[in-house]
Each structure stands twice: as C-alpha cells, then as structure tokens.
C-alpha cells in the first residue's frame, strides 16, 4: 500500500528546503498538506468555455498533486476537451474520479465544510475574502474581493496560467497548518504567490493571440518526465493541434512522480513512462515512445532528430548532447526549487550550452507540481507560437504577485560555452 508520504516526498523535501532550512519533519509537512482543504467554486457560464473550464481543471489537478484536499462546488457541465488525465464526460464527475487516483488519502468532496481558502472562478458567488479567478484566451487574473469577472475564451492558455497560479496560492493557505504540524515557523520574508496576480501570456508569446501554429508535424521530446507531462497536458487542450511526438524515455513511473506529473495517476505506479504517455494520445496528438536514454554514447541510435526538439531532462549534459545534433529549433524546459525556465535555440544563435553551462550535482531533486508545470506550459506555448526568435524566460511561481515574476531576456552568447559553439566563437573573435 503506497502512502501519501511517498507520493509527496519530493514536495515535502522542497518545502523543507525553501521554508524550514531543511530542519523540519517532512512527514509532518506531508501530513499537514493532506489535512488542508481549499474550496473551488465555479459558475456554469465560466465553466462552459474552454478558458474557464481549463482554469478549474488545471487548478484542481495541480492543487490535488500537492496533497491539498479540494471542496468542489461547481455545475457538472459537459467536458469540452476529453483529454487525459480526465476520463469521465462531465466536469465534476471527471475531477472526482481523477481525485480518487492521485495522492493516497487525498480528500475531494462536494459537500460544504471548513476550508483554508476559497477560489471563486468567473462569476461564481464568493465572499469578500474569496480569491477571484478570471481567465481569458491568453490572460489570467487572481484578485481577492467580491468583484467577479466571467471567464471567457475558446483558447486554454489563460486558464492554464490561472490554474497554475491558484495552486501556489492554495499552498500558501496551508502554511499555518504546516507550521503547526512541524512546530516551526516558515522562513520570512518570503515572496508572495498572490493575489493579486496578473498574467499576460501575449507579452511573452504575441503569436498566441495573433495566430497559432497548429500543424506541428514531427516533434522529438527528450524525457518523459514532469516537464513533458505538463507540455502534453497543455498541448492536448489546444483546439486543432496536430503533432506527432516521439518521446525518448527509459524509466518506469513511480508513486513519487504523482506529485508533479500532470498526466500520471497513482494507479500508473510501475508502468513504463512511455507506455503511460502513449495511452493519453489523441487523434490530433500522437505519441510514439522509445524506451531509451539520450546519452552521449547511444544518441546515434536515435538520430536523425526532428526539426523541432523539446528537452525536459534534469541532466544538463543531455541538453548539450541534443544541442550538438543541431536541431532547427530546440526548446529546453528547466526548473529550480522556485524557478521555471524556458530557453529556445536556433542555428547560429546562443546555444543550449551557452545558457545552461553548468552540470548539476547528482542527487534527489526537490520538485513541486506548479513549478514543473510552468516549465512544460512554457514549452507548449513556444511550440504552438511558431516563433523562431530565441527566448530566455524565467518564471517565479512562488512569487507571482511581485514585479518581474515573469522575466524575459534575449539569450546571450557565452564566451565560456562548454560546446565552443559558433555563436560563442564569433563573440570571442569580435
């Protein structure tokens, strides 16, 4: 019998490092998360459009993976996108069913009780203290108060962003319970996840509002881990997308992955990751799994790469090995404890090694649902934006209410590039 301690091990580790200098009892952290509850309320109009429905689904999925219980007060409207990890045809049915197969012991209910925070989606009723959640095609807003804004939009991007923002606020609502359980005070000052939160994805990817590239052709994906799960979760919800994904991954899913793998269920424990990912494909987005690792020595068996390559591996050297094969367009999703990052690379521009020059020390990596999600979400946005402009985006999901929580830079060549790429050599010559 798997336990919530095992499922939340990486989350507890991260929170221990970030809030308690590594000195708290991680089992107590996991227990406090499981004892916390937030209410998610939605109205029929907002939940009947893709922006609003995606916001609730994403918020539910990411919050549940924190182990935080959810009280769902929403109409059981028809599901717009019949996509994994959901299996039922109606919204509430689908979320209740999903909630029963995530973190062991997770509480999901539709009856009203005590909660630590309330999120009111769109025009749903809510008190002055409720966090109002509004989503549009490419925007998201969280604000505390009684003024409601209906969700409206046929694209999922704003909803995906709103859902990710909600999960971080839900975690903040659990802090008091975690402090009580551990007998320790979470470090201060620490950044605020909001509210308020205002996200305009069109500022990062103008093409999302102006015209999507929906026919993506063949895309190679290095890793079947959390970032790829998030990317695919998003891709499956973009109407009209066609892509043939080849996912390279050799590991089996574990219960400790459920804390952040957007498409994974607890019942997938022990299944090959590529088989599980294959099981979520649709008519529009197909998945071919290759049970392998992309390494310096065996990459020859995996060539040629597709024109577009997505990389979500922790191993920085693997990013370099992929870059050495010079794909036309390479998008790297990466995370730190409190940071998600996207870099994209094209021929003659700063390469993956210019922007990711240092290999990480091996070890168990702390992770949390909404940080991993942002990295994959950014990859999906970059992919369907069709833009070839190199990007270097940093997002601080724990700090979304602060200025510069989403920061974008032009990638820079690195004179110390580990690959001595042509762009860095050109800089040295100059």
């Amino acid at each position: 019998m798997r336990t919530h301690h095992e499922a939340l091990a990486r989350t507890s580790l991260l929170l221990n490092q970030e809030w308690f200098a590594g000195e708290a009892d991680e089992r107590a952290i996991a227990g406090a998360l499981l004892a916390s509850t937030v209410r998610m309320v939605g109205d029929a109009e907002s939940l009947s459009c893709r922006a609003g429905q995606t916001a609730l689904i994403t918020a539910f999925m990411l919050t549940a993976r924190l182990g935080i219980g959810i009280e769902l007060v929403a109409p059981n409207v028809r599901l717009i996108d019949h996509s994994a990890p959901l299996r039922e045809g109606r919204l509430v049915d689908a979320l209740l069913e999903l909630g029963s197969d995530l973190i062991p012991g997770l509480r999901v209910r539709t009856t009203v009780g005590q909660v630590d925070e309330t999120f009111a989606f769109g025009s749903a009723p809510g008190s002055q203290q409720a966090v109002r959640v509004a989503a549009s095609d490419v925007g998201a807003e969280l604000e505390r108060g009684s003024k409601s804004t209906p969700c409206h939009g046929h694209l999922p991007f704003g909803g995906l962003a709103a859902g990710a923002a909600v999960a971080a606020v839900a975690l903040e609502a659990a802090v008091a319970r975690i402090e009580a359980a551990t007998g320790m005070i979470a470090r201060k000052p620490r950044p605020s996840p909001g509210p308020p939160v205002r996200i305009r994805l069109s500022e990062l990817f103008p093409e999302l509002a102006d015209g999507l590239q929906l026919d993506l052709g063949s895309v190679d994906v290095i890793s079947g881990g959390a970032i790829t799960h998030a990317m695919l979760f998003c891709l499956l919800r973009i109407p009209g997308v066609h892509a043939r994904l080849r996912i390279i991954e050799e590991q089996k899913a574990e219960i400790s992955n459920v804390n952040r793998y957007s498409l994974l269920r607890a019942s997938d424990d022990g299944v090959d990751k590529i088989e599980q990912l294959k099981s979520v494909e649709t008519d529009g987005v197909t998945v071919k799994g290759v049970r392998s690792l992309f390494t310096k020595n065996n990459r020859g068996t995996l060539l040629p790469l597709a024109e577009r390559v997505l990389v979500g591996v922790d191993d920085v050297r693997a990013r370099w090995w992929v870059q050495e094969e010079q794909p036309d367009w390479l998008a790297i999703g990466a995370t730190g404890n409190n940071l998600a990052r996207l870099t994209t690379h094209v021929a003659a521009g700063p390469c993956a090694a210019c922007t990711h020059p240092e290999a990480l020390a091996p070890g168990v990596i702390p992770t949390i649902s909404f940080v991993s999600f942002w990295a994959g979400f950014l990859q999906a946005c970059a992919l369907v934006s069709g833009s070839r402009a190199p990007t270097n985006v940093f997002i601080y999901p724990f700090a979304l209410s602060g200025p510069q929580a989403i920061a974008s830079f032009a990638p820079r060549t690195n004179p110390d590039c580990p690959l001595d790429c042509s762009a860095s050599a050109g800089q040295e010559a100059a």
């Binding site: 490092q17 970030e18 200098a21 470090r187 201060k188 000052p189 620490r190 950044p191 730190g336 409190n338 940071l339 990052r341 210019c354 922007t355 020059p357 240092e358 270097n392 940093f394 997002i395 601080y396 700090a399 602060g402 200025p403 510069q404 929580a405 989403i406 920061a407 830079f409 032009a410 990638p411 820079r412 690195n414």
Partner: protein, 145 residues
C-alpha cells in the same frame, strides 16, 4: 538610515551588469569607514562563481577583502546581488550573507541589474536581533546622496 555616497549605486550596477552579462547572477559588497557608521562610500566586487540560478562566494576572495578592509579600517555594510527576475530573499540568500550582525543589509536587484540604476523593484532585507531577516522598504534604510 545609511547614506549611499554619490556614484556608488552606479558603480554597483556597473559591476553587476559587466560581470553578470545579463545571463548570470552577480554579487557586490557595499562598504564604508568604521568611523562613520552610517556611510556607504565604496562598492567592492568579490571573487565568486555564478549561474543564472545563483552565486557562490569564493572563500579566498572573502579572506582577501576582509584583510584589505581591516587594514583600511573599513567594513561591509550591505551585500547586493542580482536575480534574473523578481527580487526577494531566497533560502540561499538567507544562509550565505556575509555578515551576521543585526542591521546588516542585503539588497536584491531584479533583471540582472539591466534595468535603470535605482531601487525600483529592488528587495531589501535586514538582519534582525535573532539572526533572521526582515523585509524593509529600501528608501527607509538607504538614502541615495
């Protein structure tokens, strides 16, 4: 309130930008004479390693700077470093600040200091008596002269 002498913030941003190159964090110490406790009049750029996600001070570099400051009867009054995006104090920043004396200031500058020279968007933390940190508005602790 500490007075930051004219030009020191400009020097600080110059170090942060030149060393960080808009792609990695950087750190600078703000120093002042022992005899004038409220004055900051120099920016010192210590030896360190850095990436986009953090920085690490070199022990030898810290020792060199300490020796030089002692000889000149000067001290470090604040530590300044950059973040790629939002400015705040991370656990690493809490742990690896140079000075543990109450009142020591730690200033975080967003966007690799590529924005305008100044304290807009900056985050300032101050050591409290318990060795922890409290957030303080930059203009309540730093007066730019």
């Amino acid at each position: 309130m500490k007075r930051v002498a004219h030009g020191v913030l400009e020097q600080t941003f110059e170090h942060l930008r030149r060393c960080g190159e808009g792609r990695r964090e950087c750190v600078v110490f703000l120093t002042g004479p022992l005899e004038i406790p409220d004055l900051i009049d120099q920016a010192v750029h210590p030896s360190h390693r850095a990436s986009a996600g953090g920085y690490e001070l070199a022990s030898a570099g810290i020792a060199d700077i300490s020796t030089q400051l002692l000889a000149a009867r000067r001290t470090v009054r604040a530590q300044v470093h950059t973040h790629p995006g939002v400015a705040y104090h991370s656990p690493h920043d809490d742990e690896f600040a140079l000075v543990h004396t109450p009142g020591f200031l730690s200033l975080v500058i967003p966007r690799f200091a590529l924005g305008p020279v100044g304290l807009d968007g900056a985050f300032l933390a101050e050591r409290d008596r318990d060795g922890g940190w409290v957030a303080v508005p930059p203009d309540e602790r730093l007066e730019l002269c």
